[in-house]
């Protein structure tokens, strides 16, 4: 059989290389999380690094969470009031705002906000540590960089995202209250009373599980992108962009998936 010309094979080789490269990245991405999980459950635990990460991811994101939470609630209050009025159902403004926030908007928007603020910074910080050989320095000191950089960040994400989401929800509900009650004239009793009737524990748990998962996903992606950063400043810039984009897309995909599975 005659040999196939190289020019014919080249596109297939290129395609094969791309597919193999993609599979390798996917495998490395999974192995990264598995290794992080192993270091979570095996001592020694780096409490100082964990507290530092909670401060970095959680506390320092508070202002942006308060701001976006308040305005999201206010917009919801305004728009839902106008919509519900058409059906004569403005009494349900409280539960409508609360359910939208608790089940969907709270976990998703809080995650996207924290990704933009802390996730990008996390990738850049770890990326710079990689290119300035600080991660290699940890390794050659016979210390596991995962324990200092990755595991505390993922644990802090799992802890702080639900807390950030809870704050986002409460502030959002108060924003809706401000617009619905004080601006549009709905009674305070109706706003909160109907909310107590319609919001159930399952709704709160749905939001909680989502935010917990988003915390893990966002910190996983952002630490991974920083850990395997490319060369130089350009590599860090690219990794940071990729981390934010991939985290945001995964948050939205995961939100749909969890929304369809959870009660």
């Amino acid at each position: 059989m005659a040999d196939v010309p190289a020019a014919v094979l080249r596109p297939f080789e290129a395609l094969g290389e791309k597919v193999l490269g993609g599979l390798e990245s996917l495998g490395r991405f999974g192995a990264f999380f598995a290794l992080a999980l192993v270091t979570i459950v095996t001592p020694p635990f780096k409490l100082r690094a964990f507290v530092d990460r909670v401060h970095y991811i959680g506390y320092r994101s508070l202002i942006i969470i308060l701001l976006t939470g308040a305005f999201t609630g206010m917009v919801l209050g305004l728009q839902l009031y106008l919509t519900l009025t058409r059906f004569g159902s403005e009494a349900f403004l409280g539960p409508a705002v609360a359910l939208a926030l608790i089940r969907e908007l709270g976990p998703v928007l809080a995650a996207l906000m924290v990704t933009g603020r802390a996730g990008s910074a996390l990738t850049a910080e770890i990326g710079i540590m990689r290119i300035t050989e600080q991660i290699d320095a940890l390794t050659v000191m016979a210390l596991n960089p995962f324990r200092y950089l990755v595991t505390p960040s993922i644990l802090a994400g799992i802890l702080t995202f639900p807390l950030m989401t809870a704050i986002f929800d409460v502030v959002g509900i108060m924003g809706g209250y401000l617009v619905g009650v004080h601006l549009l004239g709905l009674s305070e009793g109706t706003y909160f009373g109907e909310m107590q009737t319609f919001v159930e524990l399952d709704d709160i748990l749905t939001g909680f599980w989502k935010s917990l998962a988003f915390g893990a996903v966002v910190t996983w992606v952002c630490t991974y992108k920083g850990y395997y950063v490319g060369r130089g400043a350009e590599g860090v810039a690219r990794a940071t962009t990729q981390a934010v984009v991939l985290s945001s897309v995964l948050v939205l995909l995961w939100d749909y998936f969890m929304g369809s599975v959870l009660p």
Partner: protein, 246 residues
């Protein structure tokens, strides 16, 4: 003793190491010289266990670093001290915290004892009193000294220096070399250094090895290297420009 046997490494088809053989005797200062891009840093990373070779072995005191993993590698590394090219100091910590870090994380020493040893290590490199400054607040030469203090604070048996004088002025280069020599005489560690500093390194090296195009082309005491008849070595140590490469 560190023995390197037939080390090969390629990256995306590009052969960086093509069979490196080298022996580093205990207690000696061995300096690896060679042109930029000749594979010196890649070679050093193999000795540190940061890169696995495609072929060949790195044997440290009888333990083949290339055939072990996990904790066994960490056990070998726990006898290492490393001074990276840029210092690799943790920029979120002060200079003192950087030096204290390996002691804090790897030993059960009490806080007061760690503080005493950090002060001693910083004084040893001529930096007494700068412990509270952050790396970005001190000069490049001081950062290198802090990195040396951090590498030596655990009293390692083997210390690796990756171009410890790059980017420094000639006076600082000499001062760092003298410091390394003085510390070596006092602490008797085995030193492996990658350097471009010709002819300064001939004053501190016991053995000089020239790495060229992925192979050790010449190895011996400084006097022998300086008198080498190998044109590649002669060209490098005299800094002669090859007109064909311009």
């Amino acid at each position: 003793m560190i023995e390197v046997q037939g080390l090969h490494k390629s990256f995306r088809g590009q052969r960086v190491l093509r069979g490196v053989d080298l022996e580093v005797p205990d207690g000696s200062i061995t300096v690896i010289i060679g042109r930029s891009g000749g594979g010196k840093s890649v070679f050093l990373k193999h000795l540190l266990g940061l890169i696995r070779p495609d072929r060949g072995r790195v044997v440290v005191d009888g333990v083949s670093l290339t055939e072990i993993s996990g904790r066994a590698v960490d056990e070998v590394r726990s006898r290492y001290g490393v001074v990276f090219q840029g210092g690799a100091l943790f920029d979120s910590m002060t200079c003192g915290e950087n030096v204290a870090f390996p002691l804090r994380e790897k030993t059960r020493l009490r806080r007061a004892e760690i503080a005493r040893r950090v002060d001693e290590a910083l004084a040893q490199v001529g930096l007494a009193g700068v412990g509270s400054k952050y790396p970005e607040e001190v000069s490049g030469g001081m950062r290198k000294r802090v990195a040396i203090a951090r590498a030596l604070v655990t009293e390692p048996q083997i210390v690796f220096f990756d171009e410890p004088t790059t980017g420094l002025d000639p006076i600082l280069v000499n001062s760092i070399h003298r410091l390394i020599l003085a510390l070596h005489r006092r602490l008797h560690f085995t030193a492996v250094m990658v350097s471009h500093e010709i002819p300064e390194i001939f004053e501190i090296a016991d053995t000089v090895a020239m790495l060229h195009e992925g192979r050790i082309v010449e190895v011996g005491p400084p006097a022998a290297i300086q008198a080498s008849a190998n044109p590649v070595v002669r060209q490098f140590i005299r800094g002669e420009v090859d007109e064909r490469t311009i």
